[in-house]
């Protein structure tokens, strides 16, 4: 578990320094693989059957379908790159990790602090990506990162939500990505770019 947590955080930190969309999607896939593995390990430890199903669902939906659809979009977006202040978002990500481990793991003492800290850090890094990045795909990657963080949080504090709710959440995430991919396609088709900073007309 410790190794997985470290890998997960390392992936998230690298994500803040990536400018190529395809690399970002790749790291996202890697992240989801680790979350699936975490499910599997908890399943092996606790012997709860529904953790295996959750692991399979994560693998199929987050690693398979979502990464595949994002990957297909990035293939069409050859000239798109993220230009942002990477040092700044890197610094913020590190601060988020320090704060998560420093404060949050002390707030809920009954919970093993290790995964909890990582989960909160992942959620915050995802949120930061949505706010700081302007590339549509990067924002989607941020959203999934945030969702992965929340999922991990659920795992660490309650051994996961009941299966039917979990399935609903997976389905929602999948549909959200489909909707966002459709919108991204339209952005590319209409404006030749998927940089969302051009979306600044509606005011007041």
């Amino acid at each position: 578990m410790t190794l997985l947590t470290v890998l997960l955080l390392a992936g998230a930190v690298i994500l803040t320094r990536v400018s190529s969309l395809r690399t970002a999607v790749g790291i996202l896939g890697f992240q989801s693989v680790i979350v699936a593995l975490a499910c599997l390990i908890i399943g092996l430890n606790t012997g709860e059957f529904h953790m295996y199903i959750a692991a399979v669902l994560t693998a199929v939906i987050k690693v398979g379908l979502i990464v595949y659809s994002l990957w297909k979009v990035t293939l069409q977006l050859k000239n798109e790159r993220e230009i942002a202040n990477f040092n700044f978002s890197f610094l913020l990500a590190i601060l988020a990790i320090i704060a998560s481990y420093g404060f949050v793991s002390k707030a809920l003492p009954q919970v093993p602090g290790e995964t909890l800290g990582a989960a909160i850090a992942l959620t915050v890094i995802g949120l930061l990506m949505i706010i700081a990045r302007s590339q549509a795909i990067m924002q989607v990657v941020g959203l999934i990162t945030m969702e992965n963080g929340l999922y991990l949080l659920g795992l660490s504090i309650t051994k996961g939500l009941p299966l039917i709710i979990e399935m609903g959440i997976f389905f929602d995430i999948l549909v959200a990505v489909v909707v966002l991919v459709i919108l991204t396609h339209r952005l590319k088709y209409s404006f030749e770019t998927t940089d969302t900073s051009i979306l600044n007309e509606l005011k007041g």
Partner: protein, 487 residues
Amino acid sequence: MFELILVALVLPIIIGLITLPQKNLTSIRYTNLVGSALTSGIILAIINKITEIKVFSSEFLYVDYLSAVLLLVVALLTFTATLFSLPYMEKEVKEGHVTEAMIPRYYALLNLFTFAMVSVLVVGNLGLMWVAVEGTTLASALLVAFYFNRSALEAAWKYVMICTVGICLALLGTMILYYAQVNAVGEAHALNWLYLKEISNTLNPSIIKLAFVFILIGYGTKAGLAPMHTWLPDAHSQAPSPVSGLLSGALLSCAFYALIRNVIIIQGTIGTEFIHTVLLGLGILSILLAIPFVLIQHDVKRLLAYSSVEHMGIIAIGFGVGTPLAVYAALLHIINHAIAKSSLFYLVGIISQEYKTRHIKEIQGIARVMPAVATMFVIGVLAITGTPPLNIFISKFTLILAMFESKMWLLGGLILLLLVGVFAGLMNYCLKMTFSNVPEKMKPANVSPVALTAIGLSICLMIVGGVYLPTFINEILTKAAEIVIGG
């Protein structure tokens, strides 16, 4: 009862699926008209059944008086929205804003949206309720983006991003709630609403308080409470007008319903003081933030959208005051606001189609161009600003009365003052648009009778609702208020 709910859920999906492969516009129209009438009829049957059996609860479904109030809103609005969509979309095709091939997709998405809203109201599990609320965002996102032009894409992108991030925080809150439940009584009946309500006094207060903050931010974002309302004016102004009506009247109310369901659990654990203070604060903030935008607005649909923010603030204040009378008024206000605001959005849809603009200064002399529409528009604006004897006056008056009754003199006075400001702003625009001179290029226009029927229905309800409240609605509202208070 179980069968009725199941039919209400499955019917919109079936109609959507039937609509999707069709090419003939006339048959699409009839399918959807009949379909939405059937759906609304079944929802009304559910409400009727609830007045007999009071509570229906199975493993995942739960319907009581509180759901009945919101089901009434959804039943009314999906019908009027579908009815109004028929002439509106026909005209959009004629004007070339949308192609014929896009029409089946529109109706299919509209049905999906109805399904998502009904499912928010009939599930009895806070986790599944989260799934359903997120489902409403996704079903409506492509409707907001329907025209696929620059501003529609911008609005839809912001809508999905802000609402999904917000709703993710609500998921975090729900997980914390589940954590509290597991710690207190174990994993059985996970997040089942009725069960949680029974055991709410055994939960750990400090954890529940944490959960409340996240749940409030999450569902508050979806309900359009300031300062999380930033997606709302964009999405409401860019969506097709029937959809704007649904978004403003039904969707915001459904999000509010999800919030209230959670609050009922939470107040059983941490008491009402903290919750009421926060709701009052957010409500006042929503009204305060909306007013300057209402007063200096140039886009008529954005004007209505900011007025929705204001009304959500009023509803939040109603729940924040928290006396039985105030909650009753807030629930009545949800119904009244939904009827009035949706019909205003439909009217503005007709107006902007005729004038080919949404710019307030360019819309002049509606009274000459479309007398019937102008009359309804003035009645609608009078209603939304709370003028007697129309319906919203009753709910606002009851709410202010409840405030004075619980000795909140200052707050009541402040709200009255703010409402006068909104009245002045909205009436100013309304009268200028209606009675100024007609621009030269405008000729008297023919408005489709179907569209007038759809709006006329709401106008009738607005006028009747101002002078007479049927006893069964009164009963539903009173019982629902008792549920919210914690009875």
